[in-house]
């Protein structure tokens, strides 16, 4: 998989050549269709989250957020992201380096395997960790004998999240590094720079925006994952509920404000992420 989701470079100027411009009515029609489509499927749902969260006023919103269970859900979610993102970033960079800088048999199989977690159903992603670490799983007895908790505790939630967000950084970097080629790196190496020095002074500056974008997406997904985490969490209030799980719990408690207030944090986070991304792109083009 090589082309999807990479940072869009808006450097290319839209040609002013009149012959390849679409007629005005076509432009307006297409703009209207796409704005309509995105509004319907993205803006309206987003608006509803915000509307519901504030439907009883700002005070109700903040008091919902300052519930101890909500706070502990926020903390657990942050803990998960703090562990998950660096792990997958390190892997993403290494995997991209391996795949784009060397030729070896089975390369496309490896690429497919890296993408695999992405299309595995979240239900299955949770199940496999239960099969491994659950009390009846492969390591269940050993873990119990040593009193180590993985499933229904933070490590299980982190593992499931690492699995779900596994491909994000790697697939941002692979297409970019493929396009870059390795002439610059070869030049640095031939001038006597070491491997690490070449990476940090040649490769990294070239991929830093794509890397950042990958990290941001990975982070957003790590904080927002619901299905897989739901299977391995145990849903203990104030202990093993992440924010997305807390949204569901609150909703089932008929606490609509609480549910949507928590959801609005996640949506807000997503938007901040996306704005950051846009700023990064803009910086990149004006550099």
């Amino acid at each position: 998989m090589t082309t999807q989701i990479h940072p869009i470079q808006h450097t290319k100027k839209i040609s002013k050549n009149i012959s390849i411009q679409d007629p005005l009515w076509v432009r307006w029609l297409l703009i209207t269709i796409s704005i309509g489509f995105i509004s319907l499927f993205i803006c309206v749902p987003l608006g509803l989250v915000i509307f519901q969260a504030f439907s009883k006023g700002i005070t109700a919103y903040f008091s919902a957020l300052s519930q101890p269970d909500t706070l502990s859900a926020i903390k657990l979610t942050l803990l998960v992201a703090i562990v998950t993102v660096p792990l997958n970033t390190l892997f993403g960079v290494t995997a991209a380096w391996t795949i784009t800088r060397f030729d070896f048999p089975g390369k496309s199989l490896l690429t497919t395997l890296i993408d695999l977690p992405f299309s595995v159903s979240p239900v299955i992603s949770g199940l496999i960790f239960v099969l491994l670490f659950g009390a009846q799983g492969w390591f269940g007895e050993w873990l119990m004998a040593h009193d180590i908790k993985i499933i229904f505790a933070a490590p299980g939630i982190i593992l499931a999240t690492v699995f779900i967000t596994f491909p994000f950084v790697a697939r941002q970097l692979i297409p970019l590094m493929q396009e870059m080629g390795h002439q610059e790196e070869e030049a640095a190496l031939s001038l006597g720079a070491g491997g690490w020095k070449t990476f940090f002074s040649v490769t990294l500056p070239n991929i830093k925006w794509a890397l950042l974008y990958g990290v941001l997406l990975c982070n957003a997904r790590a904080m927002g994952e619901f299905g897989a985490v739901s299977v391995v969490s145990g849903h203990i209030r104030g202990l093993t509920n992440t924010l997305p799980l807390h949204v569901e719990v609150s909703y089932n408690d008929y606490d609509v404000i609480g549910a949507f207030a928590s959801a609005s944090i996640l949506a807000g986070l997503a938007i901040v992420t996306l704005i950051l991304k846009t700023v990064l792109e803009w910086k990149q083009t004006t550099r």
């Binding site: 998989m1 090589t2 082309t3 999807q4 290319k12 839209i14 040609s15 050549n17 012959s19 679409d22 269709i33 796409s34 704005i35 489509f37 499927f41 993205i42 309206v44 987003l46 509803l48 290494t94 380096w97 795949i99 060397f102 030729d103 496309s108 497919t112 395997l113 993408d115 695999l116 299309s119 595995v120 159903s121 979240p122 239900v123 299955i124 199940l127 496999i128 960790f129 099969l131 491994l132 492969w138 593992l159 690492v162 699995f163 790196e185 190496l189 491997g195 957003a220 927002g224 619901f226 299905g227 739901s230 949204v247 959801a263 996640l266 949506a267 986070l269 997503a270 704005i275 846009t278």
Partner: protein, 275 residues
């Protein structure tokens, strides 16, 4: 492209990649295979070919197919608009595309069900104007999956459109081709592989989706019951081998889909002369 002698760090980086891949992805996924071994071939086939499972596969695949198609058409238009035209608020618009990536699927499900329920903002409109009920019907599954699919199509097509050389279009039109001919003969064939990839990605993601669908589907057996729900049902009955049998089948399908996507990519790159 053999750079083994020049570029440093092949062994450690390949080693680390394989180790991490093995620990996080392969070993956990292999539990499905081993757990399924507890069933013999006959039992496995019996589980997989039961009418309820087959009909849920039909629901999941059909809904994903329709959702991926809709998302591909509108995603293409959106990507085109974002790359080619400029209009007020384009940057915000552009940033919003990734929202479905980041929003928890449960939130998406609750919100979409609220909007499309028969008394909801959009559901009421659709019901009274067209007599269509969306939420709690198979159509609800499609709506949820379209939401999930949008970023995949847009983000796959966008870079290809950006890199596309407008000189080819200019050449075409200077040779007297109409704008429509330029589009069908020059632009579309070049974008087509990326569209296919976006479609296949959306499809693969849609088949496995659980969180958002469950809130809006209605979950009626034979009508709106999706495959992941049946896995959950098997688990609730303490039937772990049964659940893994279905899960393994889905895993194999996902793997094949991804492999086809990668072949498509390869083919597309070859065609556009990048390889």
């Amino acid at each position: 492209m053999s750079q083994r002698s020049v570029m440093p760090g092949f062994r450690p980086s390949l080693g680390y990649t394989l180790l991490y891949l093995g620990l996080i992805v392969l070993i956990p996924l292999s539990t499905l295979v081993f757990e399924s071994f507890k069933l013999n071939w006959h039992d496995y086939l019996q589980i997989i070919s039961s009418k309820r499972i087959l009909s849920s596969f039909q629901v999941s695949f059909l809904a994903s197919l329709i959702a991926a198609s809709v998302a591909t058409v509108f995603g293409f238009i959106t990507a085109w608009v974002l790359v080619r035209y400029s209009f007020f608020g384009k940057n915000i618009f552009h940033a919003l595309i990734d929202l479905p990536f980041a929003l928890p699927t449960a939130v998406a499900g609750i919100v979409l069900a609220t909007l499309f329920q028969p008394s909801g903002l959009l559901g009421k409109f659709l019901l009274t104007t067209f007599g269509i009920q969306v939420a709690f019907k198979p159509l609800g599954i499609v709506v949820a999956l379209i939401f999930i699919s949008i970023p995949f199509v847009v983000r796959t097509v966008e870079p290809v459109l950006l890199e596309f050389e407008t000189s080819m279009e200019e050449a075409g039109s200077s040779l007297g081709a109409s704008r429509w001919q330029v589009f069908t003969k020059i632009i579309f064939p070049n974008v087509f592989p990326a569209l296919l990839t976006g479609f296949a990605l959306s499809f693969a993601r849609g088949v496995g989706e659980y969180g958002s669908v469950i809130f809006i589907a209605g979950n009626i057996p034979y009508v709106s019951e999706i495959v992941p729900l049946l896995i959950v049902i098997k688990l609730e009955q303490f039937d772990i081998p049964g659940a893994t049998a279905i899960a393994l089948t889905m895993l194999v399908i996902s793997f094949l889909l991804l492999f086809i996507i990668n072949l498509l990519q390869h083919w597309a790159r070859k065609r556009s002369g990048q390889l």
